[in-house]
């Protein structure tokens, strides 16, 4: 569907002298280009420019003079680099290797079996998203720390202590699980039942069907999930910071350099290193998406799982085990929030809640958090989905598409810390016309949207890719402009995915710390930061209590989103109904 002819190449002998023919641009496509430019500008202003503002410092010396690559060379010489790099890579790979199969089994159970309590499992699987990463760290320490209940069990497995790689891997697996799951569920729920009917008619076994239909169909989803997982673990600094002990990874190196030593130059060097996985991810995504064909054409029959006693039971068992592990994580934090003084006085009390809400300024933080989360969910979803649509389904402006796609993939690789500092450098710069946004909730919201842009974008793209690619061509032939088709067809079909994206933004905004820690003002301080302060002050119980409260609020919000999803489903998804 290229609107502009590709350069002539080997023109055949009979071809007339080639004046490049370029299709005239219809006004409706112009509209798309204008929007695309708007989104590109937005990403430039709120992602590329702040990043450039901080990363430029990688090339600057103490007095901000240009020093070329000397910061890189200096950093490469420190022995810390190799060990941190290696640690980051192997931990990320380990987490990916554990999480993807587990999340796939879970997603498979949710989409392809008839096991009971599916909504319950879906809900439980969201727990890690609902809770700040501090919660899982506190919980892991209470389970496996030196005073932990299950320490003996862990040591029997040959792991000496939870601090370090084991803790990071466990906590990260927990934390990234919903991210991977979200992508995998989308990939698995978009199957064409006719393929399975055909296979069944040929007497294909369940296992063979799995390997010949299911896996190839979910290939793109699996790959994105793996890439997202890898990059998230690579760039996360919250978990390694609280449970990593002296296990150094690149992200904590950034923290040490920037916060500990205020060495922005070297911090930027490491941050640049962290961007590499995103570049890699972009390349892979670019390569793969060209080969991905639509799975859900108008003729496709939505897949509906058929009951199968043995299989359903196995899936139920697998999902239950996974769900129980998640609940154990949350449960311990809840317990910790009520225990008077771990581990010496375990009598239940409400003092942590009182202390957190009354003394810890967390109360008003919740209000700010809710504002920010609501704003992120609404605007983030609209922006991400519309952006993905423009990229994937409209035509023309080829020079714009590559960069915008790249920008959409970039946030995943940017440590929030780096993004937050970049925001300071960029928005607080004298003469920046956007300076008025500095320290406002609006900027916090935008920062959060950008920070979590990629997963939303990937979900939207996965949903969009599953649509027949000829919808737009048919519309054009019927003289219906693309935005009408977007409104009448694409949006309604994709509303479940959009509700998912909105929920994702909401819960992440509730728990995010790393980027916003640099951007809040006294009026806009959010709860997640207040919790970090409690932990710092040694009020672990209060921190746990407030983390549980965030989880609870997010859970309620998730419930609301689920009701919304159900309502939306009933309104817009009637066509998926039984034949």
């Amino acid at each position: 569907m290229t609107a502009v002819t590709s350069p002539g190449g080997e023109a055949g002998a009979a071809a007339p002298a080639a004046t490049r023919l370029v299709q005239r641009v219809h006004w409706s496509d112009r509209v798309a280009h204008v929007w695309l430019v708007a989104i590109a500008l937005l990403l430039l202003a709120f992602l590329a420019a702040p990043l450039a503002a901080i990363l430029m410092q990688a090339f600057e010396g103490k007095d901000r003079e240009f020093v070329g690559l000397s910061n890189f060379i200096a950093y490469a010489r420190t022995p810390a680099l190799l060990s941190s790099l290696w640690n980051s890579v192997w931990v990320s790979m380990a987490v990916t290797a554990i999480t993807i199969p587990v999340a796939f089994v879970f997603a498979y159970g949710l989409t392809r079996s008839c096991m009971p309590w599916k909504p319950l499992f879906r809900g439980i699987s969201l727990i890690p998203l609902l809770a700040p990463s501090l919660l899982s760290a506190i919980s892991l320490i209470y389970w496996f720390g030196n005073q932990g209940i299950a320490k003996g069990f862990m040591q029997a497995l040959g792991i000496q202590q939870i601090y370090g790689a084991p803790g990071i891997v466990l906590a990260e697996c927990f934390a990234v699980f919903p991210h991977a799951l979200m992508i995998l569920i989308t990939a698995l729920s978009l199957a064409d039942a006719r393929l399975y009917e055909a296979a069944a008619a040929m007497g294909t076994s369940r296992v063979r069907k799995f390997f010949t239909i299911t896996l190839p169909g979910a290939k793109y989803g699996l790959l994105s999930a793996a890439l997202v997982t890898f990059t998230l673990v690579m760039t996360d600094f919250g978990i390694p910071k609280v449970i990593g002990g002296n296990f150094n990874v690149l992200a904590t190196d950034v923290f040490k350099l920037v916060i500990g030593q205020q060495d922005f130059a070297k911090g930027s060097v490491v941050a640049l290193l962290l961007l590499l996985p995103a570049v890699f991810t972009f390349a892979v995504d670019h390569y793969v998406s060209r080969r991905q064909t639509a799975m859900l054409t108008a003729r496709a029959v939505p897949y509906k799982a058929l009951p199968s006693k043995g299989f359903d039971r196995i899936m139920l068992l697998c999902c239950s085990v996974i769900a129980l592990l998640m609940l154990a994580m949350l449960g311990m934090a809840i317990f910790a929030s009520f225990a008077s003084f771990w581990p010496y006085n375990l009598t239940p009390s409400l003092r942590h809640y009182v202390l957190g809400l009354v003394d810890g300024e967390v109360g008003e933080g919740f209000i700010n958090s809710l504002k920010m989360a609501g704003g992120s969910a609404l605007f983030g979803t609209l922006l991400v989905f519309f952006g993905a649509y423009l990229l994937d389904k409209t035509k023309g402006a080829p020079l714009l598409r590559g960069p915008v796609k790249m920008l959409a993939m970039l946030p995943m690789a940017v440590p929030g810390l780096v993004l937050g500092l970049g925001y300071i450098f960029f928005f607080n710069a004298p003469g920046n016309p956007l300076h008025g946004l500095y320290q406002t909730t609006a900027l916090l919201t935008l920062c959060t949207i950008i920070h979590f842009y990629t997963t939303g974008h990937l979900t939207a793209v996965t949903a969009l890719k599953s649509l027949d690619s000829e919808f737009e061509a048919v519309s054009a032939s019927l003289k219906v402009p693309w935005f009408r088709t977007f409104w009448r067809v694409t949006l309604p079909i994709c509303t479940p995915a959009m509700v998912d994206i909105a929920r994702y933004f909401f819960v992440n905004a509730m728990t995010t710390i790393s980027a916003v820690v640099f951007l809040y003002s006294p009026e806009t301080k959010v709860a997640s930061i207040a919790i970090l302060n409690l932990d710092e002050a040694g009020e672990i119980g209060a921190a746990a209590a407030m983390a549980v409260m965030i989880a609870a609020i997010s859970a309620v919000a998730t419930g609301v989103f689920m009701l919304l999803a159900r309502w939306v489903d009933r309104r817009t998804q009637a066509w998926r109904g039984p034949r």
């Binding site: 420190t78 720390g145 030196n146 202590q161 450098f425 607080n428 320290q439």
Partner: protein, 345 residues
Amino acid sequence: MRMSDLFRLSAVAGTVLFASLGFAQKTTLTVYTALETDQLKAYEQGFYKAHPDVEIKWVRDSTGVVTAKLLAEKANPVADAVMGVAASSLALLDKQGMLEPYAPAGLGAILPQYKDKKSPPAWFGMDVWGATICFNAVEAAKKNIPKPETWKDLTKPVYKGQIVMPNPASSGTGFFDVTAWLTLFGDDGGKGGGWQFMNGLHENIAQYTHSGSKPCNMAASGEFVLGISFEYRGNSNKAKGAPIDLVFPKEGLGWDLEAFAIHKGTKKLDAAKKLADWASSKDAMALYGKNFAITAVPGMAPPLPNVPADYESRLVKMDFAWAAENRERILAEWTKRYDGKTEKR
């Protein structure tokens, strides 16, 4: 209601919400601080009593974050004043020319070692936070581990895997511990006794944490027996009921100041000066004394129950300028020795 109506409605509602989020702040005096929230409240009330016409907007975070933020905002400062941030950090800001020298009303009463050497000084101290070992007596009893008296005790094999200390590369507390040891035992470009001591200590360290509070918090919750931390955190944890004893090693203690400075270029210099005057006053010192055993103006703090009487005399002679100058070299050496290799022990 049709779907499309819903979207339209939510878009409108969202726009209104979005517009109402920002642009609603009134500016008074913006003060960046690393003080504890409960301390802040007391100080704020004290200041308001003296100056009801100024309102303070606190921006509170850990020392590292506040310092990073101030440096990042250097081009277009937001803060009018900085209160309760480590003197070593303020020295760094001063080196960047970011502080407005001012001699506050109470400056004369402040001991010379607790304020900037220049005149007028770029910053002055409020109180001292010194190194302290939080020693969990309950866990120690279980493991039959004796209470240490000196830094050197910590290198004994009995403490292997029981000690937590802050990483000097990410924590100011950790850094003054290291500089104190180098001052006490010798630096000598990496060959001195301070490094020998740290070599031995490293053998017993279970973990280098990213914050100065964390080691004491971990000792308080029994995760590890000993946490090298600072006095205030030790006291506050003990007050909460943690079974810890505070140990002030005899050889000498690293320390830093909670200090005050006016940010250069503030448009509210008068109000900032009012705050500086109050922060250096005896009233303020009395408030600091409730939390800290040593205040910049001597004799303002009532003795604290867990702090020895000769606490102040145990503080090592700190040369902030020397520390700032040698920071990069020390951290590079430290990182090379103890942080770069995270082999399993």
